[in-house]
């Protein structure tokens, strides 16, 4: 199940997005076809301050492109600029 169909996506939040959302993750029902569409939807809903162009995205624990098609039960993480070390 992908494309415009309604699907369930597991979103995990870290760092600033976690603070702005007030939780570490959630299970969402969405028609978003891509991570790009999903982030736009969530940014509007939760008022995230980071624009997509400073973020990267991971799907099922690997970096992915913003326009990859999402599937039911995918695990998505929006990755703000990293600062390890």
């Amino acid at each position: 199940m992908s494309g415009r169909q309604q699907k369930t996506i597991e979103v995990q939040y870290f760092a600033l997005l976690q603070e702005q959302r007030g939780r570490t993750g959630e299970s969402l029902s969405t028609a978003a076809a891509t991570p790009q569409e999903l982030y736009t939807e969530l940014k509007d809903r939760h008022g995230f301050s980071l624009s997509a162009d400073v973020l990267r995205v991971a799907v099922n624990d690997e970096f992915e492109s913003w326009d990859v098609l999402l599937h039911d039960k995918d695990r998505v993480v929006f990755i703000q600029p990293v600062a390890g070390g």
Binding site: F14, A15, V54, V77, G84, G85
Partner: protein, 148 residues
Amino acid sequence: MIVSTPLEELDLKTDLQDSAAGALVTFEGWVRNHNEGRPILQLEYQAYEALANNEGKRILEEVKTRYEVIAARCVHRVGRLNIGEMAVWIGVIAVHRADAFRACEHVIDQVKLRVPIWKKEFYEEGDSGWVNATGVVADPPPPAQAST
């Protein structure tokens, strides 16, 4: 590898024994008491552990193809860290020192660039903020305590 235990307590170079090695180069990243002119009291590191481990393994494999390296290891701590504590440890063994130095630097550079780990600074003034969180206003300081 992501761990929450103090790195000072771990025997980090145990896995890097090899009788063909002529050099071990290590790097320790420490929590310092200031950043960009602001005094800092503490740091909090958070990691997206599954991807951090995947990406970390790729970096360690890359250095083995780029340099004449026998083995490389990288461990990053998460949680609240105090000034002077070790946040990251990298060790590289090689036949000769030049490769070990270059590979060690390559690992820390790539970790800082690619591995999903984030750092929140807690400032002496009482406010805090995630490093590199572009265009974000830092959390305001807590209300001042009433003076007596």
